[in-house]
Symmetry: C2
Subunit: 459 residues, 2 copies
């Protein structure tokens, strides 16, 4: 067990974590490794005892920031065995023609993992740690941040009790009860912003021998301008699909009211996928329509008593595949601050929110931005050409040009810095692209001269 081999220089405390989702269960492992006792409360039942069949739940794209955090508690290898690398985007047009865009260099990939599977693994690891105690079915009814206690209701017995805490970590997601208590403090900054789009989960069945009926090691996109569908591979040969679709309008959830309408619409706009979705109309009407919200707030800390992490402080839309990765990176950053400033919790909480807030804002903006790219621009040959030219620049000027996507996905560069650098590069591409009509144009002397000039002008 990693716990015993890890130094715990600061005085051990009993810490409280509200929410045993992905971030909460990972955080409890980080805190336990530093010698603290961790009491974890979760509103829902223990998902290991019930719930979705493995491989059929929502999938997430794990990338470098997430991996680093998992490796921080020594479980990278374990997760890697159930993760499917996706090396490129595969775009499906309305005629079923395919085009391709690699995510990075040869071996760079994002990894499709089952959200439920990953959460179960993290819970089991937390439970096996003698310093962590998990309690499920614990609904938080209210928190007194000043008196440092909370009202919990056991949803199995209906019993209510008061629980005191010295330090409370709110990892209870986008609709956080801990944040609700923070929102009642004076001059609290808060925003919730919804897209006019919802999402619907659908499934692509495995082949008769459990084989993948689309390219396995890829993220599939059906970009259609104002809407799109994506698919991520599962271990059992199926794909988890998500339709991102306007709530209202000509092509929208509101416009598709009957199985016939759904079937006809899919046959028209996603013809290659319809034969792979035998349960399409059933699933469409059975599965709920999810909403897409961005939540921002500040402060994240209340003195040295309460700290929000993950979706509780920065819920984002899913289009950059960074929601979980950002929450996991919160754990890494907090752990670095524990190393640096422990046991000065006041400083740790304050540094955490000051350092992390600009990055959370940046990835929130990037996630909305990437929605436009995925639903619209990846279907545009000029856009794909630009991406190829960017790869050429990156190869020609190693260390001086990293595509925005790579900075976000395959580096630990703070999100805010990545976003700023990506915007500067986009400005350069806007000046270069009018001179470039084909990949070969890149090598023309006049284009090379322009590129050299742009690169010389970079700070």
């Amino acid at each position: 067990m990693p716990t015993s081999s890890f130094p715990a220089p600061e005085p051990a405390e009993t810490l409280t974590v509200m929410g045993a989702g992905l971030v909460g269960s990972l955080l409890s492992l980080f805190l336990a490794r530093r010698g603290h006792t961790v009491e974890v409360y979760e509103r829902r039942a223990d998902m290991r005892l019930s719930g979705a069949v493995e491989g059929r739940s929502i999938n997430l794209a794990l990338s470098d920031r997430g991996w680093r955090a998992l490796e921080g508690v020594g479980i990278g290898d374990e997760i890697r065995q159930v993760a499917i690398p996706m090396y490129r985007r595969v775009m499906h047009d309305a005629q079923g023609n395919l085009s391709y865009q690699p995510y990075g260099h040869d071996n760079q990939a994002i990894y499709s993992v089952s959200r439920a599977g990953l959460n179960r693994t993290l819970l089991s690891l937390a439970e096996a740690n003698p310093r962590v105690r998990l309690q499920f079915n614990q609904q938080c009814l209210g928190i007194d941040t000043r008196a440092r206690h909370m009202e919990l209701r056991d949803t199995t017995t209906g019993e209510e009790r008061q629980v005191n805490f010295r330090r409370l970590f709110g990892t209870d997601g986008a609709f956080s009860a801990v944040r609700s208590a923070m929102q009642k403090t004076e001059r609290y900054n808060y925003s919730q912003s919804y897209l006019d789009y919802g999402y619907k989960e659908l499934n692509i069945e495995p082949g008769p021998n459990g084989e993948w009926l689309l390219e396995k090691n890829a993220l599939h996109i059906w970009p259609r301008g104002q809407y799109m569908m994506i698919a991520l591979p599962n271990l059992d040969g199926s794909f988890n699909c998500t339709l991102f679709f306007p709530y209202e309008g000509e092509h929208s959830f509101a416009a598709l009211q009957t199985p016939e309408q759904v079937q006809a619409f899919f046959e028209e706009v996603f013809p290659d996928v319809v034969p792979l979705m035998p349960e399409l109309t059933d699933e469409y009407f059975r599965n709920p329509t999810g909403s897409l919200v961005t939540i921002r707030c500040f402060p994240w800390a209340f003195h040295d008593d309460v700290l929000l992490l993950g979706d509780a402080s920065h819920a984002i839309v899913p289009f950059y595949g960074q929601g979980m990765n950002a929450g996991f990176e919160d754990c890494t950053v907090l752990d670095q601050l524990l190393e640096q400033f422990g046991p000065d919790w006041h400083r740790i909480f304050d540094e955490f929110q000051r350092r992390r807030k600009p990055d959370a804002d940046a990835i929130a903006d990037l996630a909305v931005y990437n929605f436009e790219e995925m639903r619209d621009r990846v279907g545009d040959p000029r856009f794909l050409l630009q991406k190829k030219i960017e790869s050429k620049i990156a190869a020609q000027f190693p260390g001086h040009w990293t595509p925005l996507y790579s900075q976000v996905t395959f580096s630990h560069t703070p999100y805010a810095e990545a976003w700023q650098s990506g915007q500067a590069q986009e400005q350069i591409m806007r000046r270069l692209m009018p001179h470039i009509q084909t990949e070969a144009d890149y090598d023309r002397p006049e284009v090379q001269a322009l590129v050299a000039q742009e690169m010389a002008d970079r700070p």
Copy 2:
């Protein structure tokens, strides 16, 4: 009475207004003029029976948008008699030296009015209208937007009752109960954002014969970079002052804890005003510290059942003097839509929010922007020179250049349009000003050539 002389083509209804502040009482007059019966509920007691002495309450700056709305219900002249025109800003530096900046042309002014006095006048007009019924001490405990009823508590008797409504107008301010109900609807967009500054009300006494001890027809500013004080004239010779001050830091509310500290600080940074404030330290510690919030939300309408107006949908910080004016303009715009689309309430509510939301967002941004201008830039000679040059351009190109402040304050141009045009003009000034060191430079041929070029390039 205006009611009888006004056409009421649409079928008369019974409408409900929650909140009898400035916007609610004015709105009830507009609705009654169109033949509707209006039930108005107000949480507070009738301010005409109690409360602040006339002329000593908070003052507001009434400008063209506000005047138009007051004239829309025929009470412009009545209010004009108790309004004090302010023709210019008077800046006081830390040595007590004065400098000046006119607000507009010779006769253009913003008007200092007593918030409480104006509200009382509007309440009396509403009460005198047979179609309006005012009920005070009515606290809204909750609203069911779908079932269209609300829980009201009479704060004098403690009695609670349910009140049905067909159409509810929420004019209950920044902490609106009607908006709270809207926030519980699905996918509601909402943000509250606080400045790190608070404000404190103070008073400058009248002279021994009731005379004004500072220039009467002006808005006074003590700009100090990171904070400022302002003063608006009252009818009784006093001035209503507001200190806008950081909550934390070297010069802040947190740093001034004793009467001696307050006295010493004011003597150092506002020396010319201290002799005019005999009750300074008493007032400083007696008056509460107010917070400064911007609230944005959307939608403002729930079907054709509920509509938010004024601060309930767009509370802004006070630095452009447009909070009340924007709320009053809401009434003008709604009245125009009632004229155009009555009795199609669905369309009226929808057009209202679609037309008005970008303007509300723009004035919210402008108000924060103007804080920086007032506390910092108005103390800078280069800034004042730029404003003089802008006046010269406006005079030389009539109809082709209107300073941003004038567009916001002395026109009915939609705020969003004014903001956009103001930003374009600011870009031009950034290009011109490096060539201009004195007012006389404007007439130099090379500067005139640059100006002519810039004006020719404008769309």
